[in-house]
């Protein structure tokens, strides 16, 4: 394997370890746990609570719990939910498909809309289409998913009856949430696209291309876009992290199945192992996506070739 890849993988592992460690201790700094809450609300006495906690190993010293957890993690065992005793890996696997579908389709929407808005803005500024695209991308960036989502449900479901508002059933159920989440993410993609395209338009090689007598369209598609879209790759990688968080809100709003809902409930119930599992997964995905983005960067831009384990950014 290429030494650079190995280095990135090691970096990813380190990131995952740091995230789960942080999650492990942060969760335990906050008072209380799932068992005490649930049992007391179920009518148990303090003695019952203490016995149950001891049986689950929640009374062990924190370092012992941590070492046990890491040992499990190394074996691929994420532990079991305190509340329903299901393996955390099963709980996550059950929900992963729905969230992946939402995140991938939202990202697709975001890319299509964001690239279009950003390009229009770069090319047509300061004429009307450019200004309109600028307003729309600003709107996308500044409206929270919560608000635009409620509005979309009101308009397309309750009002026009075009699309189902809630649930995870089929593809029709995916359209609204993916559009809403994707629209929000498209804002930042559009901004980066615009800025980068404009910067590229002013560079020497573009001037040379124009001087060669190439048509404006060809200069844009073959020269400006090729180089100008590079930073977008980085933004997309960054937005993957946001998407993982954004699905929490989107899934709750649209009553969709998914990791987001699992995480939200686990946090509220203080079901530590589940929260830690989701954190580990998110960290892993995020590290891998950003490593992939770096790699892609090199493939797309000959100026940023990865050589001998060193990477040169412009």
């Amino acid at each position: 394997m290429h030494p650079w890849v190995i280095k990135r993988l090691l970096g990813a592992l380190l990131t995952v370890w740091a995230s789960v460690t942080l999650a492990f201790f942060a969760l335990r700094v906050v008072p209380g746990d799932a068992i005490a809450s649930q049992l007391l609300q179920g009518g148990a006495s303090e003695a019952d609570v203490a016995a149950r906690r001891a049986a689950l190993g929640l009374d062990d010293p924190l370092t012992v719990q941590y070492i046990n957890y890491l040992a499990g993690l190394v074996r691929g065992d994420l532990g079991r939910s305190l509340l329903n005793r299901q393996p955390v890996s099963t709980l996550i696997a059950e929900q992963f498909g729905a969230t992946a579908a939402l995140a991938v389709s939202a990202l697709t929407v975001a890319l299509l809309v964001g690239l279009a808005l950003g390009s229009v803005e770069a090319v047509y500024w300061p004429r009307l289409p450019g200004r309109l695209a600028g307003i729309v991308s600003l709107l996308a960036l500044s409206t929270p998913v919560y608000w635009s989502g409620s509005l979309a449900i009101l308009l397309f479901s309750a009002g026009l009856g075009l699309l189902p508002a809630t649930g995870s059933g089929d593809t029709a159920h995916l359209i609204l949430p993916a559009a809403v989440l994707g629209f929000h993410v498209s804002g930042s993609i559009a901004r980066v696209t615009r800025a980068s395209l404009r910067r590229t338009s002013g560079t020497d090689f573009v001037r040379t291309a124009r001087a060669k007598g190439l048509r404006a369209r060809r200069v844009f598609t073959h020269h400006v876009l090729r180089v100008g879209l590079l930073p977008v790759v980085a933004v997309v990688a960054l937005q993957t992290g946001f998407l993982l968080g954004g699905t929490v809100i989107t899934e709750t709003l649209f009553a969709r199945q998914g990791i987001g809902q699992l995480l939200r409930d686990a946090i509220l119930d203080q079901d530590f192992p589940v929260v830690q599992g989701v954190v580990a997964l998110s960290a892993a995905i995020y590290s891998l996506v950003s490593a992939a983005a770096d790699l892609l960067y090199g493939l797309l831009d000959p100026r940023v070739r990865v050589e001998g384990g060193h990477q040169e950014h412009d």
């Binding site: 007391l40 148990a44 389709s105 409620s150 995870s168 593809t171 709750t252 009553a255």
Partner: protein
């Protein structure tokens, strides 16, 4: 870059493939019933969520039932029952014509297997176990007779046995799956069978055509609902939208403002159900100055305009609470309504009598600076004083985020400010933090409310040694009422005991009751027969029918 674009159609295909399709081959008519939260687990013997009972109440039968109107105990899987003279054993005579959804017969051994499972430490029950109280094993008398033994008399047992948490599951099925997996394969004897449970997405049940042993209040309508799909709507504003758009035909826990709008919608009907148990209330800390003073506690209740809160926060879909139990709870005593009507004049004079005679520039009350010969009982060292040495009337209230506590607390804050009472509100995120705040003890009022039809839930809050005695109130007399109320099987005696307990709690002003919480359910007008069981939370699903083709 072109590689990236080439990926897009691929991603779209992937997205389309990962979505799951709901079972569509199930019999019609079909409705979608909206649950308000996603329970962490759906096993009624293990998990404690009240939401799980909404579907599962109709998957299981219980040994006894309670009439939804009269709250009388009526036969369920047991045709009759006897209590021994010493109050220590209940004998249940079981029906012999019942079989589980998997075809296996119901009998005393099945009840025994269920009890064994509930009390086993391996099960890790979070509620069912504690509902059995001083349970001490059973004897199978014959195939259709079982005796439950207790270590001490426990009157709430029948109420416990009437609830879904003690529903009787197929022993065959229990043996086949473990405690983590049974929830996906539940089998009972009830009017509906469980089809599937997809965590985070749906739980589906279909009508049990063999069901012929239901309690008398289960009717058989002409066009009953054959298939019910339960879905999870955790975001409150989405609930009304889902009803309106036809995504769901029934929905629980609507926001009061949405309920108000729904009331004017001809296609929807509102079913507000006052929850039995405790009202939305605050426990008053009697161990801390100045609420250690009875006059101050009484003044706080007089000072709270609860009708205004019902109007503003609950859009009038709830009722003013006067005591520690809501009006739909067993042995609720209407006597409590005579205590503490809203009366700011009375509140002012009680506070004056308690020593809060000074008013600062902003009109806030304070206890004057103590002179060297301060009257005994007046605080000197324990309370915070300002520069002049006088003690301002400053209170701290801890609240959870649910049951409209934040909105209620803010209204109380503004109502009290007018009278010169300075209230600081501290909101916590969940029950664990609420408990932590209670243990720290630095509060004057703390919001907590439990639901349940039997008033024995008061024991968890008002017995001297109770785990949730967050008032810190100790009273031998009250302990005696509550203990006897739990021990005495005779309803007439229980009535007396709980009437005395409610009176005592209000005389001593240990709680500030605010409002009898109403669960605001909404349903399509195409649905007929919407009604809820005696616990107020669980719908009588077999009675539902569709008047027209209004399904999803």
């Amino acid at each position: 870059m072109k590689y990236l674009f080439a990926l897009i159609p691929l991603l779209l295909i992937l997205a389309a493939c990962t979505g799951s399709t709901p079972a569509s081959s199930l019999p019609e008519p079909r409705i979608v019933y909206g649950l308000t939260l996603m329970p962490t687990g759906f096993d009624p013997h293990i998990n404690a969520s009240s939401e799980l009972g909404i579907p599962l109440r109709s998957v299981y039968d219980t040994l006894v039932y309670r009439d939804p109107v009269t709250a009388e105990f009526v036969p369920g899987l047991a045709t009759r029952w006897e209590l021994s003279a010493d109050g220590l054993s209940y004998t249940f005579y079981l029906r012999s014509d019942v079989h589980f959804h998997d075809g296996t017969p119901f009998n005393a051994a099945a009840v025994a297997a269920n009890l064994d499972r509930i009390v086993s430490p391996d099960t890790g029950s979070q509620k069912a176990l504690f509902m059995l109280g001083p349970y001490n094993g059973y004897q199978v008398v014959d195939d259709f007779t079982i005796r439950l033994n207790l270590t001490e008399p426990y009157a709430p047992l029948l109420d416990s046995l009437s609830q879904v948490y003690l529903g009787i599951a197929s022993p065959t099925q229990l043996a086949q799956y473990d405690t983590a997996t049974y929830q996906f394969h539940q089998v009972g004897t009830g009017p509906y069978r469980m089809v599937e449970y997809v965590p985070g997405d749906r739980l589906v049940i279909t009508r049990n055509p063999d069901y012929a042993w239901g309690p008398p209040f289960y009717t058989t309508p002409a066009n009953p609902i054959q298939t019910i799909e339960f879905r999870f709507f955790e975001d409150p504003p989405t609930r009304a939208l889902a009803l309106e758009s036809g995504d769901a035909q029934v929905m629980g826990e609507l926001l009061p403002v949405d309920a108000q709008l729904l009331a004017g919608n001809p296609t929807q009907r509102l079913y507000p159900i006052i929850r039995p148990g405790q009202p939305v209330q605050f426990m008053i800390n009697v161990r801390r100055f100045p609420t250690d003073n009875l006059s101050v506690r009484q003044a706080l209740i007089y000072a709270t305009n609860r009708a205004a809160i019902v109007d503003a926060v609950f859009q009038r879909f709830a009722a003013v609470a006067y005591g520690p139990l809501t009006q739909t709870t067993d042995f609720y005593s209407p006597d409590v309504t005579t205590f503490y009507p809203f009366d700011s004049g009375q509140a002012e004079s009680l506070l004056f009598a308690a020593g809060f005679t000074e008013t600062d520039a902003e009109g806030m009350l304070a206890l004057p600076a103590p002179n060297p010969t301060a009257a005994p009982g007046q605080p000197t060292a324990t309370a915070a004083t300002d520069q002049s040495g006088s003690v301002p009337l400053r209170l701290t209230m801890v609240i959870p985020p649910w049951s409209q506590y934040p909105a209620i607390a803010q209204l109380i804050q503004s109502q009290w400010r007018i009278l010169g009472i300075d209230l600081e509100i501290r909101q916590v995120a969940n029950f664990a933090q609420l408990r932590e705040a209670a243990a720290a003890g630095d509060y004057h009022l703390i919001g907590i409310t439990f639901s349940g039809r039997d008033p024995s839930l008061l024991n968890q809050f008002f017995l001297t040694a109770a785990p949730l005695n967050w008032s810190g109130y100790t009273d031998i007399e009250l302990d005696a009422y509550l203990n006897e109320g739990t021990r005495q099987p005779d309803p007439a005696i229980r009535q007396q005991m709980y009437a005395a307990a409610q009176r005592r709690i209000m005389e001593q002003a240990v709680v500030l009751p605010v409002v009898d919480y109403a669960n605001l359910n909404g349903a399509s007008t195409a649905l007929e027969g919407m009604a809820f069981d005696a616990q107020g939370w669980f719908p009588l699903l077999p009675n539902l029918s569709l008047t027209e083709s209004a399904g999803p």
